[in-house]
């Protein structure tokens, strides 16, 4: 009897050691070091005029805004804002990317939103979810005080107290009470999406997206994967930019972000947000076509320049793949990841030669999918409901620092596991991290995510096979 117990205990310990050993074997290799050739640059096949426009457009993308253009050359910042330039948030691994961060091998910087809070004498308090080593974030409130749906972005900061906002004080224009909203589980977050290669996405006909989705319908059904497209309420065409594919075009994407993130009213979003009378310093729209002056021959407003920058910005090229990464690519398809993270799409005819009828590799179907209670953020955007998200394009993922819409993790393995809302373990006995802070609608074991079947497949792989997939993803 004693011997049996001894044997059982020894076997148990041996199993634990083996399990721990294998668990340590699969891990996110982390953001890829080194430069990716061509990243952050325009297509080399642009015409000279297009290339010249791109150069100017990139300067606009990098331009820093102050309230009225006195402290910095750009103007229109506020009354509320999350950032003071496009490039501030779209900075990893280079301008045009996603959130910068300390863990970057290319450009290790602290979250710039921390310093922004008090830049130029501003009196903002840094909200608890903005940290030096965390991602750049925006905040959305799920509901209004009266219980009706909100869903809009609430600027983290205001211009109150800044030297270039005289007379605007925190009593007139207070910051939102984020602590109270957090306590009420009424605030969710979004991180910046990278903008590399988006001209290709914009140039993809609806029919290509629809055909691509239709081609995998039966395979998706077997794994419980649905999928539909978000669309414009006016012309009915597929919208494809943003975390919920809520924006139709790059121009629209830029216009909304300019007003929401930097507080710059523009020709698409003409009215100032949070327009408290003592804190509005510029006529609207703050950014517009330059009728009176055309610096360097470019009379377009910032919006057109931002859209051109994104349109002509080449996609990230994947790194050379190791054997493991090549195995991972096959495994990625075999277990069903590629049913949503579609590897290849093609553009239609375009007036821009680099975008004209070419194939590209976004690893997204640009459809929206139910991701279950673990990821649900309660926000409706167009046809995308509270738990629906666009399949995040994976190109460039190898050099990204933060994952999922709210940047809740920097660990790729955790990001994969978070696709499932079914189990509390990752299938290998390891307890998942508690992300309830980020998921106000988390319901343990609700099993509504369309990715549950694929994640089950992933968890059924051996640690080495899972590692292959991680290595493949970090090669993108």
């Amino acid at each position: 009897m004693k011997r049996s117990i001894w044997f059982a205990a020894t076997a148990g310990a041996f199993f634990s050691v083996m399990t721990a050993g294998t668990l340590q074997a699969q891990q996110d290799p982390g953001p890829r070091a080194g430069a990716t050739p061509g990243i952050g640059e325009a297509y080399t096949s642009l015409t000279p005029n297009e290339a010249a426009f791109f150069t100017q457009a990139r300067m606009r993308f990098e331009e820093v805004d102050s309230v009225s253009g006195t402290i910095e050359s750009g103007s229109g910042l506020g009354p509320t804002f999350n950032g003071n330039s496009c490039a501030q948030c779209h900075g990893q691994p280079v301008v045009g990317g996603s959130s910068p961060g300390l863990a970057s091998p290319q450009n290790s910087i602290p979250n710039p939103q921390v310093a922004l809070a008090t830049l130029d004498n501003a009196t903002n308090v840094v909200p608890s979810f903005i940290t030096t080593d965390g991602p750049v974030r925006e905040a959305r409130f799920v509901r209004n005080r009266d219980g009706s749906l909100d869903g809009g972005v609430h600027g983290l900061f205001t211009v109150a107290g800044r030297t270039d906002a005289p007379g605007c004080t925190a009593s007139v224009l207070p910051q939102p009470n984020f602590a109270a909203q957090l306590a009420a589980h009424n605030v969710i977050f979004r991180i910046p999406t990278p903008v590399f290669g988006l001209g290709l996405v914009e140039s993809t006909p609806d029919a290509v997206l629809q055909a691509s989705l239709a081609a995998t319908q039966s395979a998706r059904s077997r794994l419980g994967i649905g999928g539909s497209f978000n669309s414009s309420g006016n012309d009915g065409t597929i919208t494809r930019f943003g975390w919920k594919a809520q924006n139709k075009s790059l121009l629209m994407f830029a216009g909304e972000a300019y007003n929401v993130e930097q507080g710059v009213s523009n020709e698409l979003f003409t009215n100032e947000r949070a327009a408290v009378s003592g804190c509005v310093f510029n006529g609207s729209p703050e950014d517009a076509t330059l009728i009176d002056e055309a610096p360097e021959g470019n009379d377009s407003g910032d919006l057109v320049n931002f859209a051109i920058f994104m349109r002509f910005l080449s996609p990230p090229a994947p790194a050379a793949q190791s054997n493991s990464a090549q195995n991972g690519a096959s495994r990625f398809t075999a277990i069903g990841c590629a049913l949503c993270h579609t590897a290849t799409l093609s553009t239609g005819p375009s007036q821009y030669s680099p975008l004209n009828s070419v194939s590209y590799h976004p690893y997204s179907d640009f459809a929206i999918h139910h991701m279950g209670s673990g990821l649900a953020d309660g926000i409706n955007q167009g046809a995308a409901g509270p738990d629906q998200f666009r399949t995040a394009p994976l190109w460039g993922l190898g050099q990204r620092l933060f994952f999922l819409h709210d940047g809740r993790t920097a660990d790729l393995l955790e990001a994969i596991e978070a696709h499932s809302d079914c189990d509390s373990s990752n299938g290998n006995g390891r307890r998942r991290r508690d992300f309830s802070f980020f998921g106000p609608f988390s319901q343990s074991g609700s099993c509504r995510s369309e990715a549950n079947g694929v994640i089950r497949n992933f968890n059924a792989l051996t640690p080495d096979q899972q590692q292959d997939i991680l290595n493949f993803l970090r090669s993108l």
């Binding site: 990098e62 331009e63 820093v64 009225s68 253009g69 006195t70 402290i71 910095e72 050359s73 004498n121 030297t163 270039d164 906002a165 005289p166 007379g167 327009a275 408290v276 009378s277 003592g278 804190c279 509005v280 310093f281 510029n282 006529g283 009176d292």
Partner: protein, 342 residues
């Protein structure tokens, strides 16, 4: 003779008479308006405080034309873009709510003066075309046509004549109203620092000076009294003041032994300078400020580099004032023990 005087008097009136209550407020109200106006603003940026007495007056006399005019004047005098926008919206709403009341139609047009003056001119001209005896509209037109940007001497004289005929003895205002002067605080702060003053109050002066100058700019930017080039010059002047302010701040931090702050601000100045086009006038100001700060910290190589930038700028943009400035800066840097290098 007496009969002749009566006849002349009648002829002088031309048969025209202002609509009752449109030339001047009654004496009691006039006194109330004077009382509201006697409060001198202590802080020009304190909009609510400065406009408050006129707002209170309007609440007591919600239908009085002159009270509304003075309230509008106060918003125009102390307000910035957001206040002006609200004023326009409010009076447009009042005009819509009182479609048969000429006063509100007039006030709606008057609220546009200074910000959308061509639109105000159009509405006021239309108004007097239909109601030639409405004196306040002639008054506003006369004031606008007498202004520098919308100057039309013949029309100004004609409208003035109409107004004074309808309202003899009345006065016209001069538009636009005077701007506040640029703040002397930055220059004072610099002098105090050179004289070895405590850096803490100097830092406060710098901040206050910048905010006053920003406010002044906000009193220029929304108004069409000022030309685009004037607005641009005012903005560039203020950008230049920021470089002066940051430079003083770095020196204050150094003096107060807050070296981390000094280094941080100097770094951000460098970052700001790095994105300036080398033909931008700010490039000159940035280089001058940085040259001096580096020289003060005995970083001669960096100071020399900035002086080189200034020389290059000067060779492509010859300018006597800048040439003198460069010469003086070179002397100061060469003689670090002298004044201004403490």
């Amino acid at each position: 003779m007496f009969l002749l005087l009566i006849l002349i008097g009648l002829a002088g009136s031309g048969g025209a008479a202002a609509q009752p209550g449109t030339c001047a407020p009654d004496p009691a109200l006039q006194q109330e308006i004077r009382n509201a106006a006697t409060r001198q603003p202590t802080n020009p940026t304190a909009f609510d405080e400065n406009v408050g007495p006129f707002l209170a007056l309007r609440q007591h006399h919600p239908d009085d034309l002159f009270v509304h005019e003075r309230y509008q004047d106060a918003v125009q005098q102390f307000g910035i873009e957001g206040h002006l926008r609200m004023l326009t919206q409010e009076y447009q709403a009042l005009a819509i709510a009182h479609p048969s009341d000429l006063r509100y139609r007039y006030l709606g047009a008057r609220a546009l003066i200074g910000r959308s003056t061509p639109a105000a001119l159009q509405e006021l001209n239309q108004l007097i075309g239909e109601n030639p005896e409405f004196a306040p509209a002639h008054q506003s037109l006369a004031e606008i046509y007498a202004s520098e940007i919308f100057r039309d001497e013949a029309k100004a004289a004609a409208e003035k004549q109409e107004f004074l005929t309808l309202c003899p003895g009345s006065e016209l205002a001069s538009l636009p109203r005077p701007l506040p002067e640029p703040s002397p605080l930055l220059d004072q702060a610099e002098r105090l620092l050179d004289q070895g003053s405590d850096p803490n109050p100097v830092l406060g002066m710098v901040l206050q000076g910048l905010q006053s100058d920003e406010w002044r700019l906000q009193r220029i930017r929304p108004f069409d009294w000022y030309s685009t080039s004037y607005k641009r010059e005012a903005q560039q002047a203020l950008q230049s003041r920021y470089w002066q302010a940051w430079s003083i701040q770095v020196r204050c931090y150094r003096r107060a032994n807050q070296l981390e702050k000094a280094v941080g601000l100097l770094r951000s100045m460098e970052q700001r300078a790095a994105v300036l086009n080398n033909s931008d006038p700010m490039y000159w100001d940035a280089s001058a400020a940085l040259a001096r700060l580096y020289a003060e910290a005995n970083q001669q190589e960096l100071a020399a580099q900035k002086l080189d930038f200034m020389r290059q700028f000067l060779s492509s943009h010859p300018d006597n004032r800048r040439a003198r400035q460069l010469e003086e800066l070179q002397k100061v840097i060469a003689n670090p023990a002298g004044p201004g290098m403490s």
